[in-house]
Amino acid sequence: MIAQLKKKKWTHYAIWFIFPAFLLYTAFVIIPTLSSVYLSFTSWDGLSSNIKYIGLDNFIEIINSPRVHNALKNTLIFAFSLVILENVLALLLAILVDQVRWFRNFFRSIFYFPVLMSGIIMGFIWMIIMNYNFGVLNQLLDMTGLGFLKADWLGNPDFALIAIILSTVWKAAGYYMVIYLAGLQGIPQELHEAASIDGANRWQQFRSITFPLLAGAMTVCVMLSMIGSLKIFDQIAVMTDGGPGFATETLTYIIYKVGFGELRQGFGTALSMVLFLLTLVISLVQIKVLRKREVQM
């Protein structure tokens, strides 16, 4: 009886502790989110107080718009390329850093350093490096007698997408490296010792011990990198502004452009609903697939 009363009292206090955070979360997240759902069914221009309900017109336009189809295609290319490249590179870096004997913290810091930069600053740095006329990359090619390889890296539709993907991998891999490193360091050394005694080589140990036991870290990393990749914006805005032509436009980029630049907040919000559903579906599928192979220690 006393225990029940104590529990009730504690629950009562807990509600008051949670209440301020819940209030703020409601004001700054839940209400704007719900208002976004409403705005996606309007033709609001983002400026006037006249908000007109237009039913499903925005969504019908999304289905029929070649520009949106192109942006969706680019978004998926970005997302899957980034998830694969970021995770492969991060895992490799984590294994290297885990095994290195000297300067471990130094390498850890060096690989993590790009994560600390904002996407905007990183975008400017790579934009300067890859500029056709003044960029370091083309100047290096000229200086090393490889001038025939010079290209307009960000102005050529064949290279622009790849350039953004590679620069984003460079920036993000260090973050996932830290998660993988934590996972690696959580694997008991005895398992590797036992496998060595049984005659397993390094690759076999990696395939049968390290990789399965990293499944938890991989679920987190793949989900975070997928969500991050689906909403990639800073690098594109700075490095190519969605160009050349429409070559690097993604869903987040056109959400911003149509919402703020083209005065179609309603349509932009409808696009954000589509992006939300896309993110949700992909994330749920990922979780379902990846959690199956997780191993509990």
Binding site: V29, R67, I227, S272
Partner: protein, 447 residues
């Protein structure tokens, strides 16, 4: 199982949050910027004596332009210590509309604003008409729907070729072109010397309008100034002969004579490329003269308007809807209005306006005569402005009233042209896409 469900719920909330939070929240109820105004008065003549504050914003552009406006603001506040100007200006022309919309979304729409998209903000009820007693200051006052909203900072500046005199000499060009075909012959001569004939700042999408407008004015607007309204009414098409000719000329020029790095070159890099000798010419306006001179004071350059195939000169020079505008929210406070009117009057006084025009290489809009020093290039600009034989027109997105295009169409169209050049696309096929997009935009805006 419970753990799995929790993870799913968390992922739903996380996804919803990251995707949607940036898109909502503004219901259009903007509040005025904070003011230290001590109160209002029924008698506006008392206002200048009271402490008053108003917010101001303009597209900062190049450092010299920024300095010119800042100097005027400082001079005004020195003479009027009771007026405090809170200067919000922090962005260049490339993203000015986006920035203004963001300011509006956070309730900081400036009381006095350099307006470049008048129609958009008037339609949204954000601007008021220019006060009657200021209108006498100007010889040019563009109207939207029969009303005046702008105190024009400068007249519309015609665009033309800014060329390196050395490059022309090296290529053996001794005479400026009298027709468009002669202009193309000069491009061949320049290309033969190994220099890029033309630099274009294609990374900044607004820059793409320079050449687009040149060809459109030559082939379409000089013959039919109401083409845009006809396109809106579907009685004209982007597949019309004149428009196809304009876009074909555009494509040919960009394919043959434009610097290879044009799509990753920003507008503010064009002056450096020109003075460094990597390119021989830039198609732009007089606002570039100061930047070029600053990049290399010893660089010798000239300016001319490119004639069309018949030898006629068609320039982008009709007044457009731009200039200082008063916000509807700020205008609710009579003290602010008086202070803003005092500032505008001060800004356009010859003592301030002359140095401003000299810095930005601007064309005066005031009734009062303004005298200022200009270089030889600006003299050519002024000659063109005064040349009755030059056909004056406006660019694709500069028309207003019935001839206004859907605001979202401009950038999309410039990108379409970029793609067409890159993919060596068929002009007529691309123009069919333009027709479809235009109609879709018109329909969307009617909702």
């Amino acid at each position: 199982m419970a753990k799995k469900s929790l993870l799913q719920i968390v992922s739903v909330i996380l996804s919803l949050t990251v995707v949607l939070t940036a898109c909502g929240g503004n219901n259009g109820n903007n509040t005025a910027a904070p003011s230290n105004n001590t109160g209002t008065t029924d008698n506006p003549t008392d206002a200048p004596k009271k402490d008053v504050s108003f917010t101001l914003a303009y597209a900062t552009g190049d450092p010299a332009t920024k300095q010119a406006i800042e100097t005027t603001i400082d001079a005004f506040t020195d003479k009027n210590p009771h007026v405090k100007i809170v200067n919000y200006s922090e962005t260049t022309s490339a993203s000015y509309l986006d920035w203004l919309k963001t300011k509006d979304a956070v309730g900081q729409f400036p009381d006095l604003v350099e307006m470049r998209d008048t129609k958009v903000f008037v339609d949204a009820g954000k601007l008021i008409e220019l006060p009657e007693d200021l209108r006498g200051l100007f010889s040019i006052l563009p109207e939207y729907a029969g009303k005046v909203y702008n105190a024009p900072l400068t007249g519309t500046a015609p665009q033309g070729i800014i060329y390196s005199k050395k490059a022309y000499t090296d290529a053996g060009v001794t005479e400026l072109p009298k027709t468009y075909d002669e202009f193309l012959a000069i491009q061949d001569k320049l290309a033969a010397t190994g220099i890029s004939p033309i630099v274009v700042g294609g990374k900044d999408i607004f820059h793409m309008g320079f050449w687009t407008n040149f060809f459109f004015i030559n082939e379409v607007y000089s013959k039919d100034p109401d083409w845009n309204s006809k396109r809106t009414a579907k009685t004209a098409s982007f597949t019309d002969a004149g428009m196809v000719q304009a876009v074909t000329d555009y494509k040919d020029l960009f394919s043959k004579y434009v610097d290879k790095g044009w799509l990753s070159t920003a507008d503010n890099q064009t002056a450096s490329i020109l003075v460094s000798g990597k390119a021989a010419q830039l198609f732009s306006g007089p606002w570039m003269f100061g930047q070029i001179a600053e990049a290399d004071p010893s660089f010798e350059f000239g300016f001319y308007a490119i004639p069309d195939r018949s030898g006629n000169v068609n320039i982008n020079q009709l007044p457009n809807l731009a200039g200082w505008s008063l916000s509807a929210e700020g205008a609710k406070d009579p003290d602010k209005v008086e202070a803003i009117k005092a500032f505008i009057t001060f800004f356009f006084q010859p003592e301030q306006y002359g140095p401003y025009l000299a810095t930005v290489n601007g064309i005066p809009t005031t009734s009062a005569e303004v005298t200022y020093e200009t270089g030889e290039q600006m003299k050519e600009v002024m000659r063109l402005v005064g040349d009755a034989s030059a056909n004056k027109s406006l660019g694709l997105a500069n028309w207003y009233g019935e001839n206004a295009i859907p605001p979202q169409f401009r950038n999309w169209y410039y990108k379409l042209l970029q793609e067409m050049v890159l993919k060596n696309g068929d002009v007529t096929e691309y123009m069919k896409k333009a027709d479809a997009e235009y109609d879709s935009n018109v329909k969307a805006n009617q909702q």
